[in-house]
């Protein structure tokens, strides 16, 4: 019996048997791995959909939501897990923990600097990749994080790009003002922009001199004194750093006081390209220029996105918040597809190798430097024309030619 057994179970036969048994045991795991690769990547989206940033957070959410069907048509499988940060960094942190616990493979967010810093930290601690859709605080990508990627310009990049665009704007129009007055909102954002302008203007070599800087309270209901002061300065250019409500107040007051500089230009702030500004001011909103990152109207991808967006949200603005939020989801979907897996490390490696040519925003292909920052961000000159914000520079993305000096308030029809 023993002899027969030993003949049957030779070393080679045992090896074959062990291999077969191993394969049998491993088969479910392999099947699960394959199934995992086909599983849609779960993206935890953290945005301030309530609280004081609700309006902009909801706009960003629309950009993420519309990405799902658009990317599906392109062959990407994504699933969103949405969470509201309530405009609070503390809530952002807890919600990030919750999304990761519930199985998010990657997180995207969070618009506001404090919340973005909080979720980036959670992502790093948990070893879950994080893609920042909007958030300009430079320090977030200076922390040596390995799991954090940002597809948005840092605030120094925004100021540099905005001021450089101003130079090219005047070169293109052939008219360069010699003096400017700078009117800015006196809050954290306005102060950091002012510091950036003061620091970078001499390096960039602005072609005009800022003769007066006028700060105003962000909650102001009346800008008559500030606008009168700006008018009295007699500068050719009116440079502004605004938010929405104060931008409307300012233009109204300029019209009322018949203050007619050669133009109104922002080196990179919200307000003047927003739907509410355009609707409220009508023809007076026209010709205002904002040098901000913008959607490239010439890209096939942005045209597809715009079509889908207006179909889903006919009354909503299609602006940079939508564009960057869409790209945040696109980056995750692209990485998951190339990785062939939703495992964190595989996603991180794929994110590092990101090179997306077909994007919606103006700028080079989406890629990330070693610190996780996309270095190829561009600011467009967006001029309001006929009640719409249109790209006028750079020339290869322009929908219209820039106009400067602009027609006077009473010459507009």
């Amino acid at each position: 019996m023993g002899k027969e057994t030993s003949r049957r179970l030779s070393r080679r036969a045992f090896g074959r048997g062990a291999a077969a048994a191993g394969a049998l045991v491993a088969a479910p795991a392999l099947l699960r791995w394959r199934a995992g690769a086909a599983e849609p990547v779960k993206i935890g989206v953290l945005l301030p959909r309530s609280g004081f940033l609700a309006l902009i957070g909801q706009a960003c959410q629309r950009g993420c939501d519309i990405a799902v069907p658009v990317l599906k048509d392109m062959g990407y499988a994504v699933e969103l897990m949405n969470a509201d940060t309530e405009s609070s960094p503390d809530v952002a942190r807890t919600q990030a923990e919750k999304l990761i616990r519930e199985g998010a493979h990657v997180i995207v967010g969070a618009f506001e600097s404090g919340a973005t810093a909080a979720i980036a930290q959670v992502a790093e601690q948990k070893g879950t990749p994080c893609v920042i859709n909007i958030g300009s605080e430079p320090k977030i990508t200076e922390q040596g994080y390995k799991f954090v990627f940002r597809n948005f310009p840092t605030s120094p990049m925004l100021v540099t790009n905005g001021l450089n665009r101003m130079k090219s704007f005047f070169e293109t129009t052939g008219t360069t003002p010699k003096t400017a007055v700078l009117m800015h909102v006196n809050d954290t954002f306005g102060q950091s922009m002012l510091a950036g302008i003061n620091a970078l203007a001499p390096k960039i070599g602005l072609p005009f001199k800022i003769v007066e800087t006028i700060a105003y309270d962000p909650k102001t209901r009346d800008l008559s004194i500030e606008v009168a002061k700006a008018k009295a300065a007699g500068a050719e250019l009116h440079m502004v750093v605004t938010r929405l409500n104060d931008a409307i107040l300012m233009i109204r007051e300029m019209v009322k006081q018949k203050y007619e500089p050669m133009g109104v230009i922002s080196p990179g702030s919200p307000g003047m390209y927003e739907g509410q500004f355009l609707k409220t001011l009508g023809k007076y909103a026209d010709y205002c220029v904002s040098n901000v990152p913008w959607i490239n109207p010439k890209q096939e991808m942005s045209q597809t996105l715009e079509k889908a967006f207006h179909k889903a949200y006919p009354d909503q603005d299609f602006d940079l918040n939508i564009g960057f939020s869409f790209e945040g989801i696109q980056i995750c979907a692209d990485a998951a597809k190339r990785a062939g897996s939703n495992a964190p490390q595989a996603l991180v490696e794929a994110l590092k190798a990101t090179h997306i040519e077909k994007r919606v925003m103006i700028g080079g292909p989406i890629r990330f430097a070693a610190n996780g920052q996309n270095p190829d961000q561009v600011s467009a000159a967006v001029q309001n024309r006929g009640g719409k914000p249109l790209v006028v520079l750079p020339p290869d993305s322009a929908a219209e030619k820039p106009v400067f000096p602009v027609p006077g308030w009473q010459q507009r029809t």
Binding site: S50, A54, N82, A83, P89, D90, A118, E137, T188
Partner: protein, 358 residues
């Protein structure tokens, strides 16, 4: 040392120490069963409980309304974080600096107010004003990062470094739990001391307290200074737990209001009320977040949260803890501030100062 410890439970029913021991044991064991998310929620609970307890010393014990306590959180946070970032100083040493500065700031605000007879809502407005202008100052103070924020280095660590407060959330959980329990004990001891009785006398009727010979100025100053210094401790933990600080969020009025709520809902002037309030409010907030997440109506959570708070305030104006404690037999009859006690109840308690709240 035996006397202070035994005095913690003097006058309490026998089941009170047992209930507290059960609570401590359950909290101590929680990290063993809680996942990362639940642990982070519990850390929020402990933050809220600690801050409400510290605020309660001023408002609940001495009747001084502060709506600018975020000032002291910010001072503690920035002092310890800036010293750590610039000089590598241990946060425990930074805590000494933060607590000292916050206590001095509290004393200065208090001295200014009490010397010039700024009381009631005007005192509350003054506390907001100080928090606001400190926020504006911090926005322009480059050494602490100004409006760009102050970031502490973050790294994944296998072990916790308690001396430098670098480590996993569970380390912060136990530190905060210890701080909450220490403050509970401190509150109990203070209420049983002369200063505690003086505070409560001032809270009930400042003029009468003065007539009895109580040095009202010094007692009120002590309450503000102590409350400010203790609040700064939470600021230190906040800085090292979140690892980033922005003047706009750390000094925000919203934070000052939030930290008051657990004490108000739990029971002003009680010892365990702020802790219970922190559990209820944080739990409610998280439950509503989860419940409303799939409904797709932004802001619904805040609406429901406000509604629940309003209902609680209407049904239990003296807070939930005195009501629960009375039913569980865990304390003497509650003695909330007199202004909120119905006349009949006030008459019943006349003639005796509160013996320390449950």
């Amino acid at each position: 040392m035996r006397a202070p410890f035994s005095s913690l439970f003097a006058g309490r029913p026998r089941r009170a120490p047992a209930a507290l021991a059960l609570f401590v044991a359950a909290m101590a064991a929680m990290p063993l069963v809680a996942g990362d998310y639940l642990l982070s929620v519990l850390i929020l609970v402990l933050f809220a409980a600690y801050l409400a307890q510290a605020w309660n010393i001023m408002m609940g014990f001495a009747g001084l309304l502060s709506i600018g306590h975020a000032l002291y959180i910010g001072i503690g946070a920035y002092a310890s974080a800036a010293l750590f970032v610039h000089y590598g100083t241990s946060p425990w040493i930074g805590m000494l600096a933060g607590v000292t500065i916050a206590a001095l700031a509290g004393a200065a605000i208090g001295a200014l107010s009490f010397r010039f007879k700024v009381g009631g809502v005007y005192f509350a407005l003054l506390t907001i004003a100080f928090a606001e202008f400190t926020r504006i100052l911090a926005d322009h103070f480059g050494w602490i990062g100004a409006s760009s924020g102050l970031f502490l280095p973050v790294a994944n660590r296998a072990t916790s470094d308690v001396w430098h407060l670098r480590g996993a959330p569970v380390m912060f959980y136990y530190l905060l739990l210890a701080a909450v329990l220490a403050l509970l004990a401190l509150g109990r001891l203070l209420l049983g001391r002369r200063i505690g009785y003086y505070w409560q006398a001032i809270r009930e009727d400042e003029e009468a307290a003065k007539a009895l010979g109580i040095d009202v100025f010094r007692c009120k100053l002590a309450a503000v200074t102590l409350s400010a210094g203790l609040t700064a401790v939470a600021g230190v933990f906040h800085a090292f737990y979140y690892n980033n600080l922005y003047p706009e969020t750390i000094f925000a009025i919203g934070r000052s209001v939030e930290l008051m709520l657990p004490a108000i809902i739990g029971g002003l002037g009680t010892l365990f009320g702020p802790i219970l309030g922190a559990f209820l409010l944080t739990g409610l907030s998280e439950a509503l977040t989860n419940a409303t997440a799939d409904w797709g109506i932004d802001g619904l959570k805040q609406l429901l949260y406000g509604l629940v708070l309003a209902i609680v305030v209407v049904l239990r104006p003296d807070g939930i803890w005195p009501w629960i404690a009375a039913r569980l037999g865990l304390g003497a009859a509650p003695h909330p501030p007199a202004s909120r006690v119905p006349p009949s109840a006030r008459e019943r308690s006349e003639g005796a100062l509160p013996q320390g709240q449950p």
